[in-house]
Each structure stands twice: as structure tokens, then as C-alpha cells.
């Protein structure tokens, strides 16, 4: 039967017509492919009904199945039989979303469709915000559609008799797949799908389970599909929309270049320029890169224009759920003029009134910038408008680079994560907490996933040992208790405490311990990191959710506050990863540096920044794309070595460690290392043993692998990576955000485990993973090698000066630092104590100290 002629298809078309809508070609394509049993990936810009492409496909299938079974029942009825053959109710579609905030709106849209098509479906939501009674209801009777986060699926798998849930399942959808791909949550999604598919094959081998992803444009769509649907025997396809979203990008320029700081993350001087934009738009979303910045900008805008009070809101991940809900609701109804937000509003949700987007500071990647731009002008054929507000001068060059990348659709790839042993360990314990698992079956399943395709039998054996006996037999793990084999031959967790702790722990988003913030008089404001509040004194004030709050005390893992009389206060800085400039943007950036000085461009941003470049050229040098600039600067802080490869923070981190390591081989020396997206700094209190004639030898790609391994060993990089790994694999229990579990006696830290395993259990796979992550995830060796090769072919320019240059300034002030030393520890200590004595005396004299933070 042709789909177009089917009753379900006609019904949907008719319904769309009633609403004066016509499906896009990519939507009907999706329906056709779905009907033919395909899985795959859908790629379309936001605002074009990506959701409906696949959701309606499932609906059409259901309507057709319904009608055909009704027909056959009628036929059967003639014969006098009473058998009902209608498809059973139960979970038919699992819809995975990365963000909780997406679920509510999706559910609303889907419910509307079902109502109007008279389809008796329940649409359920399940995530961290779902109330307990709702979850219990779902347990008794699963809704037909379940909108869920990857973490919540794993929680579902951690329950007993899970297999019943998936009996009627037709399709699994991973929404915003580009966002999950490239993170460990993507690995969680892969694992969950592999298990649900396995359960279904066990019970209904004849059944076809379709797996679909929905993704924004990224550089590696093919691979994205293969990660989501790795099964050879499944038919799969990529459906791309042919419609293009128009995007208009404008930079907000100061009146004079001196108004922009060279470094630093403010740019508040430009705040007044936002007001006219906000006023002439219906609703404006203002994106900042961190929660701390969002708080600051909220304050700044209010201070600039008091009329905005009540019309300006702030939205980020640490604001209380109720409050966030209210804000999202208010954006929908259009009562808000503007919302200052973070990536918390990056994705999916249709906010119809939003017609303007402002990006504050570099978005660091083309894909993210376009995604954010897409938040405005949400309906098809409308133009998305995005303004870019630079927070320091050099970001203007980034703006020009992003414009070019957007024009040429040069969009970066998201690299999927593989061999994440921590996620695998967590998954296995999850299954053991649930119905238990058969190791042969699960090994077979995970070997099919993209993430663990390369898993070796001996690695699998080690992982099984790790969760059953604690570790390999070389290292004794007496009394270890976690997963053990039950009488029915399945591996299970028997201890209720361990099971409970594990359930609380599922998830891969690792953060510092978070505390809930609550008014003394009642009412939650949001969450805050324990490390921030531990530095606060009672009576002092901070801002959260745009409010100035006075800290009273911490009681039972709750931060009690009252409204402060102060107008301004410090904003908390939430930790969390820094985003690195993508390789794409890096290379375009290098080109733009050329163009700025040569004036071979048509971009106002580059014209504007020219004076700064001329200043850089005067005190130092502006590197052209065939040059490699090194600045040697000697100040009272010490000896600085700045290098500018323009490869992005992640590459620089490794490269800096590598160069520090190689310099350290010439002479024992200690470095403090800093980097940003343009370059890196090595800082030492001793002269740097640099052979200027042979600087290329320092950057040679020869012996790269060995030197990188050695330099990673010498820094804290692997130790830092281990923080996440220890949490995910269950070594460190950090408690559930806002929920206090009395586990003091099991408290420890990732750093401690890192040392313990390094000292006593060197073969630990989690340890190896930490080094692998530091190495491979940071960059692939080829990318670093390519960068070094480029440097080899470049002309080396060495500039010596005693003043900071415009280029080096942003790196110098970066507070995130690493260190490396080839000196003997006792030497360092003696010198450091001697020095601090001196500085203490100097400080007493000066009696003034700049506060870094």
C-alpha cells in the first residue's frame, strides 16, 4: 500500500490543511521512510517542525495500524468472533531530550496533535522534575509517548521488571542529538538504546524498532547517524531539509576602540547600546557564556534602565525549577521584554514572541552561534536576527570569523566519545540494580554500540572484575561487595543501600556539590555551589536569579537567605567547563588577522579594530597566517613566554604542556601555564632556557607521542579528568543536587582515588581512561601534529619586550592555570618560602593588595 493513499496519511494532511499548513518535503520524506521501516537522522533548521517530521510519522503509522486492525476486526466479527485485535495500549514512542526544560513544551505540542486527530494517546514526561506520584502512575500504566532525559531512561532501567515497559515500543527518538553526541550523555543514550533494543528482540524478534535522531547542522552528520544507529542490518537514511534559514548577524560596536577592554569578560560599557535593541524588539534573548555573567548582565541592564524592572528576567541552570518554569511561561505569553540566559535556553523550545537574539562574548563555535541565532524568528522563512556584543577587543575578529563561517556553512563536527569505561561501569551497575544482567548478552549488545565497538575481551573482563570483586587479583580487594551472581544466573546488586546510592547517583553531569538557596520566610531561589558559599560570611550579600540576597547561614544543606538592602553584590561564579574555540574558527581567525592589516576585507569589525592591531604592530608584531609569533616578556612577575598558534584552548593546553616539558629537559625549571583560544603562556621565576636559533626544534613533531605522554604525566591534566570519571563510575559519591544524604563516612575525593590507584593499582582502566581523555579528547594527535607542522613551515618571529602587548594581555589575566616542574620539590619549597617572606614584607609596605577574585 502506498503511504500517500493510506487513511492515516490522509487524515494528517487533512488536519494540517484545516490549520492552513502544508508539510515540508523533509517531513513527508520522513513519514515515507518511517513507513518503510527506516531508521535515521533528520537535519533541519529550527522552526521548521523537526518535531512533527518524526512524531507525525509515528502517529500516521499508529492511525493506519488502528484502522487496518479495525477493518480486520470487522471482518472477523462477521464470522462471529469477539476477539479484539486493536493494538494494545502502552509505551510506543520514547522521545529523548537533553534538557528538562524542553519536555513540557514538547508534551504540550504533542498532546494538541493527538487531541485534534482524535488519537487516544497519553503523553508523559519523565525527568528529574517529575513528581513522585506521576512516576508511580507511569509505572502502573506507561503513557504511549514518554519524553525523557538520558539519565531518566537509565533510572528506568534501574527498576525491577523493566522489560514490561517496552512491550509495545515502536520507535526511539533522540532529539537534539548533536547536543548529546560528543558528551558522555551521548554514550548513555547509546547504551540505553542498545538495552531496550535487546529486550525487545528477546521478546518479539519479529518486531521492527526504529531509531531516529534529530540534529541541527554539524560537520559530521553521517557519523552522527552511525553512532545513533550502529546496526548493520537496519535500514537507515539521512533526511535533510532543503529550506534554509536566513540569518542576519550584526556586531555592536563601541564608539571608540579604547572603550573595549583588551581582556576581561565585561564589555558592560556597551550595555547602553543594548537598550534600543531591546526596546524595538518584541522579546529579546540575551545569551551569555556563563551563569555568573548572566547574573552580572542582569544587574547591569537593570541599572541602565529602571523601566526594565518586571520586564527583564534571568534564566540559567542554577535557578529554581518553579522560577524557571514561570519565566519560560512568561516568554511564551510575551510579557517579558528580554531574558538574560545561558545555554539553558539554547535548545528546541519554540518561543514565538522572540524576534531578536543578542550574544554576549564569543560563542566559540559556529554551530552554537547559529543555534542561538535560530532562537529568534522561529517560524519558517522569517529571518533570524542576532547581535554580537564583544566583551574584549580581539573578539571583534572572532565576530568577523564567525560571519564568514556562517556564510560558507563551515560548521564544526561533534566528535562522539568512545571507550568511556566510567559510563560503562555505571551502566552495568544500573542494570544490576534493576533486573540484573547476563554478561554474555550485554557484552554482545555493547560491542555493537559505537562507543564500545573496540572494547577488548580483556577490558570487559577487567570491568566485570571491577564491579564484582573490586579489581584484578594482583591487588587484593577483600570484603568487596557490589555486584554478584544470583541463583538465576544474572548479575545483581543485593545490598539495598548500594542500590539506593547508585540510583541517586545516575547521571554524567558532574558538578561541585550544590546547595539549595531558600528564603528564611520560605520559597526557593535556586542552587549555588558549596565552594562559593563556604567563602561567604554571614551578613554578606550575593546575587542569584537576579536578586540581591543576604547570606544568613547554611542549615541542613540549605542556604538560608533574606532579601538584601544592597543594590549590588558579588555574583557567584559557577564552575563548569570552558568552551574551546573550534579548529574551524581558529583557522578562519588566522586568516582574519591577515586581512585586518592588509585591509583586504569588507568587514566593519576589522576596520574598527585596526588601531589596536597597529598598536600591537608597534610594540610587538601582528602574526600573518604564515608566521608564528613568540613574545618574550620580562616583568616583575617573572619570565613570560607567549606563543600564538591560534588553535583553540584545548590544543594550546596540550601544546603548552609539551613545550614546558621540552624546556624542562634543558634545565630543571618550574612553569605556571595559562592559555586561551589564541595562544598560551609559560611563566617562570627563572630565565627560560631558550635557544632562539633553534626554536623550531622546540616545536618539532618528532617524538611527539612520547613527549605528549610524558608531559601529560607531568601536569595535573589527567588528575583533573579523573574528577568526572571517579564520579561517574561511582567511586566518589557527591550527593544529589539539593538532597542531603548522610554519607559522611563514605566521603572521599577524586584526587585521593587518583593517587591511590596510581600508587597501588596501576592497571586500573579508569586511570588509563583519565590519561586517554586528557590526550585524545583534548585533541587528536593528528591535529596537534598538523599545528606543529604548520609552525615548522612558518616564519618564526620572536619579540622581546618588557611590557604586555595587546595580544598577550587576555592570556595573562586568565585565572585557570596549570603547572609543570622538572625541579626538585625541596628546592622549590625552600625558594618559595624565602620568596613569600620577601613579598610579605613588601606587601606590608604597600599595604594594598589587588583582589583577583
Amino acid at each position: 500500500m502506498q503511504l500517500e493513499k493510506s487513511k492515516g496519511y490522509k487524515k494528517v494532511i487533512k488536519w494540517l490543511k484545516q490549520h492552513k499548513k502544508k508539510p515540508f518535503k523533509f517531513q513527508t520524506d520522513a513519514w515515507l521512510y518511517y513507513a518503510e521501516g527506516y531508521s535515521g537522522l533528520i537535519n533541519a533548521p529550527t522552526g521548521f517542525g523537526k518535531t512533527f517530521s518524526i512524531f507525525l510519522a509515528v502517529v500516521i503509522d499508529e492511525l493506519n495500524a488502528d484502522l487496518s486492525s479495525a477493518a480486520s476486526t470487522a471482518a472477523v466479527k462477521k464470522k462471529g468472533s469477539q476477539i479484539q485485535q486493536k493494538r494494545k495500549s502502552g509505551l510506543k514512542l520514547i522521545w529523548i531530550t537533553p534538557l528538562r526544560s524542553l519536555a513540557k513544551d514538547l508534551a504540550r505540542a504533542m498532546r494538541e496533535v493527538c487531541e485534534q486527530l482524535e488519537l487516544d494517546w497519553h503523553i508523559g514526561v519523565r525527568n528529574g522534575d517529575t513528581p513522585q506520584n506521576e512516576k508511580l502512575k507511569q509505572k502502573k500504566q506507561m503513557p504511549e509517548v514518554l519524553i525523557i532525559t538520558p539519565e531518566s531512561i537509565h533510572l528506568l532501567l534501574a527498576q525491577k521488571s523493566t522489560f514490561n515497559y517496552f512491550d509495545q515500543l515502536q520507535c526511539i527518538v533522540a532529539d537534539e542529538w548533536h547536543e548529546l553526541l560528543g558528551s558522555k550523555r551521548g554514550v548513555m543514550t547509546e547504551l540505553a538504546i542498545s538495552r531496550i533494543r535487546g529486550l525487545l528482540i528477546d521478546q518479539h524478534p519479529e518486531r521492527l524498532l526504529r531509531i531516529w535522531g534529530i540534529s541541527a547542522t554539524i560537520g559530521n552528520l553521517e557519523q552522527a547517524m552511525d553512532v545513533l544507529v550502529p546496526y548493520d542490518e537496519v535500514l537507515k537514511t539521512i533526511i535533510k531539509s532543503d529550506v534554509e534559514k536566513k540569518i542576519e548577524i550584526r556586531s555592536i560596536l563601541p564608539d571608540h576602540i579604547d572603550m573595549l577592554p583588551w581582556a576581561g569578560h565585561l564589555g558592560h560599557k556597551l550595555a547602553h547600546k543594548l537598550l534600543p535593541i531591546i526596546h524595538k524588539s518584541k522579546t529579546t534573548l540575551i545569551f551569555t557564556n556563563t551563569r555568573g555573567q548572566a547574573e552580572l548582565w542582569y544587574q547591569t541592564l537593570l541599572a541602565q534602565d529602571e523601566n526594565l524592572a518586571g520586564q527583564l528576567a534571568i534564566h540559567h541552570g542554577s535557578i529554581d525549577y518553579e522560577l524557571r518554569n514561570w519565566i519560560e511561561e512568561a516568554i511564551h505569553t510575551g510579557v517579558l521584554k528580554a531574558v538574560v540566559c545561558t545555554s539553558s535556553l539554547d535548545l528546541g523550545v519554540d518561543f514565538k514572541p522572540v524576534d531578536t537574539v543578542i550574544q554576549i562574548g564569543s560563542p566559540k563555535g559556529v554551530a552554537r552561534f547559529l543555534q542561538r541565532a535560530g532562537r529568534s524568528g522561529h517560524s519558517p522563512y522569517e529571518t533570524s536576527k542576532i547581535y554580537f556584543l564583544p566583551t574584549h577587543a580581539l573578539e571583534l575578529v572572532e565576530a568577523a570569523a564567525i560571519k564568514e563561517a556562517a556564510r560558507t556553512q563551515d560548521i564544526e563536527s561533534r566528535e562522539p566519545i568512545v571507550m568511556s569505561f566510567d559510563a560503562l561501569i555505571q551502566y552495568l551497575v544500573t542494570l544490576a540494580v534493576g533486573d540484573g544482567f547476563d554478561d554474555e548478552k550485554i557484552f554482545f549488545e555493547i560491542k555493537q554500540t559505537h562507543a564500545f565497538r573496540e572494547l577488548l575481551p580483556q577490558e570487559w573482563k577487567w570491568i566485570m572484575q571491577f564491579i564484582t570483586t573490586g579489581g584484578d587479583s594482583l591487588t587484593a580487594y577483600n570484603e568487596f561487595k557490589k555486584v554478584s551472581k544470583d541463583e538465576d544466573g544474572l548479575w545483581k546488586v543485593k545490598s539495598r543501600q548500594i542500590a539506593m546510592r547508585h540510583r541517586l547517583h545516575i547521571g554524567t553531569i558532574v558538578s561541585d556539590a550544590m546547595l539549595k538557596v531558600k528564603y528564611l520566610t520560605g520559597g526557593y531561589v535556586g542552587m549555588i555551589e558549596e565552594s562559593f558559599i563556604s567563602r561567604m560570611k554571614p551578613g554578606s550579600s550575593f546575587t542569584l536569579a537576579g536578586r540581591v540576597l543576604e547570606f544568613i547561614m547554611v542549615k541542613e544543606m540549605m542556604v538560608l537567605v533574606r532579601k538584601s538592602k544592597m543594590k549590588q553584590a558579588i555574583s557567584p561564579s559557577w564552575m563548569g567547563g570552558r568552551i574551546s574555540l573550534s579548529a574551524n574558527l581558529g583557522s578562519i581567525l588566522r586568516k582574519k588577522y591577515n586581512e585586518t592589516l592588509n585591509k583586504t576585507h569588507g568587514e566593519e569589525e576589522l576596520d574598527f579594530i585596526l588601531p589596536l592591531f597597529e598598536r600591537q604592530a608597534k610594540v610587538s608584531h601582528v602574526p600573518k597566517s604564515d608566521e608564528f609569533l613568540i613574545e618574550l616578556i620580562n616583568t616583575k612577575d617573572g619570565y613570560h613566554f607567549f606563543a600564538y598558534p591560534f588553535e583553540g584552548r584545548q590544543v594550546h593546553e596540550i601544546m603548552a604542556a609539551l613545550i614546558a616539558y621540552r624546556l624542562g629537559r634543558i634545565k630543571p625549571i618550574s612553569f605556571s601555564i595559562a592559555m586561551n583560544d589564541y595562544g598560551f603562556e609559560l611563566l617562570s621565576e627563572q630565565p627560560i632556557p631558550l635557544d632562539e636559533a633553534h626554536i623550531k626544534a622546540l616545536f618539532t613533531p618528532v617524538n611527539l607521542s612520547e613527549d605528549i605522554v610524558a608531559s601529560i604525566n607531568a601536569t595535573e591534566m589527567a588528575r583533573r579528568k579523573f574528577r568526572d570519571i571517579a564520579c561517574i563510575s561511582g567511586l566518589v559519591f557527591q550527593g544529589y543536587p539539593g538532597k542531603y544524604v548522610a554519607n559522611k563516612h563514605l566521603q572521599s575525593s577524586a584526587g585521593l582515588f587518583f593517587s591511590v590507584f596510581s600508587d597501588y593499582d596501576k592497571h586500573n582502566l579508569l586511570l588509563r581512561q583519565a590519561y586517554d581523555e586528557a590526550f585524545y579528547q583534548q585533541i587528536e594527535e593528528p591535529r596537534l601534529a598538523a599545528a606543529l607542522k604548520r609552525i615548522q613551515e612558518s616564519k618564526i618571529i620572536i619579540v622581546k619586550t618588557d611590557r604586555y602587548t595587546p595580544l598577550c594581555f587576555p592570556i595573562k589575566v586568565d585565572s585557570l592555570r596549570d603547572s609543570m616542574s622538572s625541579e626538585e620539590l625541596s628546592h622549590r619549597i625552600e625558594r618559595m618560602t624565602a620568596e613569600s617572606e620577601k613579598t610579605a614584607q613588601v606587601k606590608k609596605k604597600n599595604n594594598r593588595r589587588k583582589d583577583d577574585h
Binding site: F480, S495, E685, L746, S836
Partner: protein
């Protein structure tokens, strides 16, 4: 390193112990025997060797100082008797004449008969031994006794020029109290903020170093 504390001679050892020369007393704190096994029982993978290393270190201290008394200022055991604690029982048999005194800490939850079986003299709150008071956590009230305690696992950060810093476990000697580092290697650090007149002794792999001034 030898220091003077209220007129008494203390030897600070890099293995996180104080030897009180006059009393032939070895003082340590926060031994946390059984912590690693406690973790293992709860499904967290900590190798046995962690607990055994602590006992080996204790043995070498016994050889070096040959003390009459071993004084533990709290958290000797981590919650209950388990395989790690059994290793300690064996260790105890090797030193039948050693007097062991324990001032109970928040983790010391063994039964009385367990302590008796191990021949450990237990003080629930404190032990006064002029001019010192041995106690697990430092008291708020001040009196004529100088407090020697443990509990918080003190650490110190050294800052150097060119933005360098290093972190170590340490002995702390303040105006009214001294704090011992945690003896067990399987413990974290709490970084202390120095006050005027405080003395810090950082513990590196090879020796004890006095840190005179910290930022």
C-alpha cells in the same frame, strides 16, 4: 625536625607523627583503620594495600623511636571491625608491651570489649597531661592547657613567584592548639588559613619543612 612546644621537646616526623621525647610517647591522629574495607563493603573500590601501607608506616615509626606509649588523638578506627581492623589485631600482637591510648573521635564506634581485647586505653573526651590537653577536635573555650588535636586533616598551600603553588599535609602550631595531620594516607586535606603567630610544618616526601609565612 625538633621543635619546642611549651617547653617540651617534640620531634616532628615526616610520616605524620610527633614523638614527645620526655615521655617516650608517639602521638598520631586520624589513623582511620578499616576505612578502606568500609568503602569496599559499600561497593567502592579501594585496594587493601591502602590500609596495609599505614600499618607498615606505623611499624617503621616504632622501629625508629621505640616508644613506650602510642597516643592516638581520635579516629583510630573507621566505624567498625572489618578485614583491615583484623590486620591491626595482628599488628598489635607484635607489640604486647606497647601502651596504646585513644581519645575517641567521631569515627571511633567500636564496642568497648573490642577496645579491651586490643588492650587500648580509651578516653571518651580528653586526656589531660600537663601542659597539654589531648583531644580529638579543638575546644572553643580556652584555658591553661595547650590543646593537641587532630580531626580536620590540616593542609597548607605554599605560593611562589610566577603564580606557583604547592599543597602539602602539615602540622599546625597555633596560639592555643596544635593540630596533627591525618596519619592515614587515604584522607583528604583541609587547607588552613594562617593567623598571626601560627607555625606550619609542611610534610613533603622526604622531610619536614617549616613554613614561616604563607601569603
Amino acid at each position: 625536625m625538633i621543635i619546642d612546644c611549651k617547653g617540651e621537646q617534640f620531634i616532628l616526623n615526616k610520616e605524620r607523627a610527633i614523638f614527645w621525647v620526655a615521655k617516650k610517647m608517639l602521638i598520631i591522629s586520624d589513623l582511620h583503620i578499616g576505612k578502606s574495607a568500609h568503602f569496599r563493603r559499600s561497593g567502592i573500590q579501594v585496594p587493601d594495600t591502602v590500609g596495609l601501607t599505614d600499618l607498615h608506616r606505623l611499624t617503621s615509626l616504632m622501629k625508629e623511636f621505640e616508644p613506650d606509649t602510642l597516643l592516638v588523638t581520635g579516629d583510630m578506627f573507621h566505624n567498625n571491625i572489618n578485614s583491615d581492623a583484623n590486620a591491626f589485631v595482628d599488628w598489635r600482637r607484635g607489640y604486647p608491651h606497647l601502651k596504646i591510648v585513644l581519645i575517641k573521635g567521631n569515627h571511633d564506634a567500636l564496642k568497648n570489649e573490642d577496645y579491651e581485647a586490643l588492650n587500648i586505653e580509651v578516653h571518651t573526651k580528653e586526656l589531660l597531661c600537663a601542659p597539654f590537653r589531648f583531644i580529638h577536635d579543638q575546644p572553643v573555650e580556652r584555658d591553661e592547657y595547650y590543646n593537641i588535636c587532630g580531626h580536620i586533616h590540616p593542609g597548607v598551600v605554599l605560593y611562589g613567584k610566577a603564580r606557583q603553588q604547592l599543597k602539602f599535609p602539615c602540622f599546625y602550631f597555633g596560639q592555643h592548639c596544635a593540630i596533627l595531620p591525618a596519619f592515614s594516607v587515604f584522607t583528604g586535606l583541609k587547607i588552613l588559613k594562617p593567623q598571626e603567630g601560627d607555625r606550619f610544618y609542611a610534610l613533603t616526601l622526604h622531610k619536614v619543612i617549616e613554613v614561616k609565612r604563607i601569603r
